[in-house]
Each structure stands twice: as C-alpha cells, then as structure tokens.
C-alpha cells in the first residue's frame, strides 16, 4: 500500500508477533502521510513504551522513542519549539491512558497541533498481556485471571471531553476508513486523536477464546457500531449493547489550538 521509502529497511525484522495489528496501523498512518504529501525531513514520529510505541523505530524520519507514558509531553516540547515539524505520536492504551493519562488530557486541553494514533489492544502487550484501563469488564488477562472487575475507559470520549479538535475511532479491520480518518486528523489544526481497536492474538486473544487472528478481527468487526447507527438506535429508544464500541468520526471542531504552523 505504501511507498517503501518511508520504512527503515535496515531495521527488519520487526519485533511484532505474527498476526499483530500494529503493522496495519503503521501502514494506514503512512498512507495518510503520503496522501497529505508530507516530506520525510519535516515529519517526526514520537512514542512512549510498549509494542505500539516501537513503531517510530521502523519509520525513516526523525523519531523519538521516549519513556513509558510521556510521549505526549515530549511531543509538546518538540511541536512548540518547532511548529514547522509535522508531529505524529504512536501510543498504546497503557502508555496513553494508564501511566500517561495526565499528559493525555492536558495535551487534548492544550490542543497541541499533532496527530495521536493509539493502538488499543485492550491489554499491556509488551509486558505479556496484563489488564489495562481499557480491558473490557469480564475479559481475561494475566492479572485479571477471574475476569476484569474494573470498568474500562472510553479513550475517544476522554479525548472529546478534554478538548481535542478531531476524534475518530476505527479498528484494524477498517483500513480504508482508518486511512481517511488519520488523514482528516492530520488536516485538522489542533490535537487529532485516532483510536484504533487492534488485535493482539498473542496476549489478548489467547486468554479470551480468540486465539486465531481471524477470530480476533471478527470480534473487532462485530463489536464496532457505526456512530450514526448508534445515534439512530438511541433515537428509537433501543438499547445499545454494553460490549459494543462506536466507530466513525466522533468530533471535528475548531477550538483554539497551540503549536500550529504559521
């Protein structure tokens, strides 16, 4: 899908497991970058720590692979010091919403002009599949052996409430929609947050009877509810099942933003 010159060929092979969804998300992000016509030397990829945060290391631009949870704070420094750079952050649900939750809401509040792509695999992947703030209630992981007893965060809703100018959610199944959403986010001044529900067959699927990659992708596809459809259900007074998540463009607005190129 995407031109080879955006990859660091000398970094292969990558660390991702067979069937991991992260490659799809990286590919879709680079397709959006190409659609926008960004130049490599003006683009910086930034991340925290986790499987998802390894993504910048495979992309042939300046890249900053930082500490767990802090990517958005590093990115804030980069973008405010040089608004001429295009800044994209790759992060995971643990990196963004657990250890980095405070930076997440404040980056959205400041509406710093950058694109944040979160690969939400519903667990801490890199450390072997422990429960995270987005692990669905009842789901199994190595630290929720009896099923998670905690309510989960809705990351997109969090970004909307905190003030991000563009918020969308898709899954690794919806590649065309995802490319469009990331590109729309990149075009929107201010912080754009794109959450991608991503399969981790190794550490999530294995504990939740979704061991096969196709089963996990099918799970994501069938649990995704288009936002327009959800609104219709609500209007008709029908109940929306708890285990479904909305997908689509959830917010596009024009709050004052920081770090926008002049």
């Amino acid at each position: 899908m995407t031109a080879e010159e955006w990859y660091r060929a000398d970094r292969l092979p990558h660390i991702y497991c067979a069937g991991c969804g992260n490659g799809t998300v990286i590919n879709c992000t680079l397709a959006a970058v190409e659609e926008l016509g960004w130049r490599r030397e003006e683009t910086v990829f930034i991340s925290g720590i986790g499987c998802s945060s390894r993504a910048p290391g495979y992309i042939l631009t300046d890249s900053l692979h930082t500490t767990h949870g802090r990517a958005l704070a590093f990115a804030t420094g980069v973008k405010l010091a040089n608004p001429g750079l295009n800044v994209v952050v790759f992060t995971g649900d643990g990196d963004l919403a657990a250890i980095g939750g405070n930076h997440f809401i404040h980056a959205c509040r400041r509406n710093v002009d950058m694109t944040v792509v979160c690969m939400n695999n519903m667990i801490y992947g890199m450390t072997g599949g422990q429960g995270s703030p987005t692990t669905p209630p009842g789901a199994f992981s190595t630290t929720t052996p009896y099923g998670s007893g905690e309510p989960a965060f809705d990351l997109a809703e969090l970004a909307i409430a905190a003030g991000a100018n563009y918020v969308a959610r898709w899954t690794s199944y919806h590649v065309k929609e995802l490319v469009k959403a990331i590109a729309a986010g990149m075009r929107t001044p201010g912080l754009s947050f794109v959450e991608v529900m991503t399969q981790c067959p190794t550490n999530y699927g294995r504990h939740n009877r979704l061991r096969r990659v196709s089963d996990m992708i099918e799970y994501l596809r069938t649990h995704a509810l288009l936002v327009q459809k959800k609104e219709r259900l609500v209007q008709e007074g029908k109940t929306v099942p708890d285990e479904m998540f909305t997908v689509g463009e959830l917010v596009r607005r024009n709050r004052p933003a920081m770090g926008v190129r002049r």
């Binding site: 660091r8 000398d10 970094r11 490599r40 030397e41 003006e42 910086v44 930034i46 910048p56 290391g57 042939l60 631009t61 300046d62 890249s63 900053l64 692979h65 930082t66 500490t67 949870g69 802090r70 704070a73 590093f74 990115a75 804030t76 420094g77 980069v78 405010l80 010091a81 040089n82 001429g84 750079l85 405070n102 930076h103 404040h106």
Partner: protein
C-alpha cells in the same frame, strides 16, 4: 559594556539562561524555585522563545528534552519533590545524550520537608538518582553572581558534552539579593554538528557524537533503549551495552580536568575546609576573621564530575572539614579519595553554619 544590578538569585539564574540563548522553558511551580519560571514566562515570549507550564515535572523535563531535539537551548527549574519526579527522564536524557539544563533550588527534605528553607540534600540524587550507571555534570553557585555565571556555564557544558547539566543551587542563593554584573554578551559553546557520513551516536575520539537536530534531514532515531552507533535498539548484545555505557561515563570522566572549576586558598594548610555553595561563605568569613591561622579552603563550583585532583593540592593536609547543608553527602565522596580523616559538619534546618560553629569544629579537629 556590562550593567550592574541588584537582583535575586533566581532572577539572576533566569537572566543567565536568557543570556546563554535559552529559548525554551518547561516547568511546574515549586517553592523555592518558582521565580525562575515566572521570570522566564515574562521574558521568553518577547524573545521569540517558548514558555510552557506543564502538568507536572515528569512532563516538564519531557518537554524540555523534546524541545532540545529541535535544536534550541532548553531548561527547567524545580526543587526536591519535582526533582524526584524527573529522575526517570533524566536517565533518558543521559542515554539519548540530550543537552539541557536542570536547575534545582534545593530545599529541606525528605518529602515535602521544608519548602522555604535551604538544603543541599540532593547532591547525590543528581549524580545517582536515575537508575543504571552514568555520570553527570553539576555546578554549585555560592552567590547571586554565580547564579548567573554558572547557569551560562551549565548550558555550555550541556552542549559541549551532550548531557543534562545541573545547577544545584538552594533556597539561600535562590532568594538572596546581591549585586550582579551582567555582561553584554557571554561565551557560547555550540553543539557540535553531525557531519554527513557520521553516525548520530558514534562518539568518535572524545566520546561525544555530533548533533543532528530534528528537521535537518538525518532521520535520526532517538531511543532510551540500549542502541548502536546508528541509534538503533540493540538490547541483547552485552558488548553493545558495555560499549555504550562506558562511553557515556567516559566522555565526562575523561574530561574532568577541563570541566573542573574550583578555588584554592592556603594550599600549604594542614586543616582544610572543602565546600560548595553557600557554606563556603561562612568559611570565607572565618578566613577573614582569622587570617593568620593558615586555614585551607577548597571551594568547588563544579561538584560533579568530582575533581579529586584538587584535593592533592593540599600537600600538607592533616584533616579535611566539610560543612554541608546535609548529613555529609559530599564528605563521603571526598573520603573516597584521601587517606586523611574527612570530618562532616552537617547543618540541617535551613540556616547556614555560623562562623562560631565552624571555629568550634576547627578547634576540635586540628
């Protein structure tokens, strides 16, 4: 032409940073350092710089490191609790060789301790506080003039050696007001640039790689993981890790003589005070009051890397006395390097030692 002003230490620190070309400040308010942030908040926008109040100190140092990679001189200022929060990312700055300046206006700890009182309790934390093996550069000002001068110097050392550099001041020099001479221009040591064909983390002969700021077309990968000379993660190779860590330490330790900055008084003395920061002022008073006693004094402006060779200047020394605003943190370091006894003279609570207290110690130990 220079100008003479009467100003507060924290203001002098901020003025020093501005004179050194600092154009990015990220911080979070904390007594007794806040005046630095407030001064930068007023001054930076007028100079085309960026001031940002981050959500916490983890974010402050992160933003500073990010800004530094765009090529600007960047700093933060904090005190004990905030300094503790910065530790993980300070290690990241060490590992990624990011030049930046961290000012710690030390206050009494542990914990929230004494927010408005001076201490020197973080002298080992700035050297050893982040996990893993590394070396750092730390300066210790004893006057408002040195708050200016040593902040300028910290930026130059940070850029020269590609490290986070610490200005380890305290509430006394931070809040004291004194006469300061502010020069029209200060010496600026630039970051060495990455040359085409060079690898971004190849230290070359002196262990210090060339810097390729973001946007300059080198597609540099910056990671806190153990990496090779290209910057690529290489975390399983024992030799790669050994080589990297030894280089990070070696580039500082091998430059100890160049980085060192200290003053020697009465090198023939048998009783020698070793000081850094404000306690040196009490020793100066003692030397002034007792000019014929032949008291030696070594005053360090650079504390880390520790200049052990400065101790051997005192060839007749029988005892080293160390007044510090802590329980004897640097006295341990001094004792490591000499055979003579090193006597810590701790003072806690926020006040300086009085001349009478030091005189008493002098009489007890010589």
């Amino acid at each position: 032409m220079s100008r003479v002003e009467f100003m507060q230490g924290n203001t002098a620190c901020a003025e020093g940073a501005l004179a050194a070309g600092c154009r990015f400040f990220g911080g979070y308010p904390i007594t007794p350092s806040t005046e630095i942030a407030e001064h930068m908040a007023r001054a930076l926008p007028k100079r085309g710089g960026v001031f940002i109040s981050m959500e916490d100190e983890l974010g402050s140092i992160a933003a500073v490191i990010g800004a530094a990679w765009t090529g600007v001189r960047a700093m933060t200022a904090t005190s004990g609790p905030g300094f503790s929060l910065m530790m993980e990312n300070i290690g990241f700055a060490v590992m990624t060789e990011t030049p930046c300046v961290i000012v710690n206006i030390q206050r009494g700890g542990p914990s929230t301790g004494q927010p408005t009182r001076a201490a020197q309790g973080d002298m080992l934390q700035c050297r050893f506080g982040s996990h893993g093996d590394y070396s750092t550069i730390a300066l210790s000002p004893a006057s408002v003039q040195e708050m200016f001068d040593l902040t300028v110097k910290a930026f130059n050392l940070a850029d020269r050696y590609r490290v986070p550099a610490f200005v380890m001041a305290d509430e006394i020099v931070g809040h004291m007001r004194e006469r300061v001479t502010i020069p029209d221009a200060v010496e600026i040591v630039p970051r060495r640039k990455l040359e085409p064909g060079q690898l971004p983390f190849d230290g070359g002969e002196d262990g210090i790689p060339g810097f390729a700021q973001f946007g300059s077309g080198y597609a540099v990968h910056v990671t806190g993981l153990t990496h090779d000379e290209r910057g690529y993660p290489d975390t399983m190779d024992a030799e790669a890790h050994d080589r990297l860590v030894r280089r990070l330490i070696g580039k500082i330790e091998s430059a100890r003589f160049d980085i060192a900055d200290y003053e020697v008084e009465n090198p023939d003395a048998e009783t020698v005070f070793v000081t850094y920061g404000p306690p040196s002022r009490t020793v100066l008073q003692l030397l002034h009051d007792m000019p014929d006693e032949g008291i030696g004094h070594l005053r360090l402006r650079v504390v880390w890397p520790f200049p052990e060779f400065a101790l051997s200047v005192f060839a007749n020394a029988k005892v080293f006395l160390m007044p510090e605003l802590n329980m004897g943190q640097m006295a341990r370091e001094v004792q490591r390097h000499v055979d003579q006894p090193v006597i810590p003279i701790p003072k806690l609570g926020g006040d300086l030692h009085t001349p009478a207290e030091l005189k008493q110690a002098l009489e007890a130990y010589r």
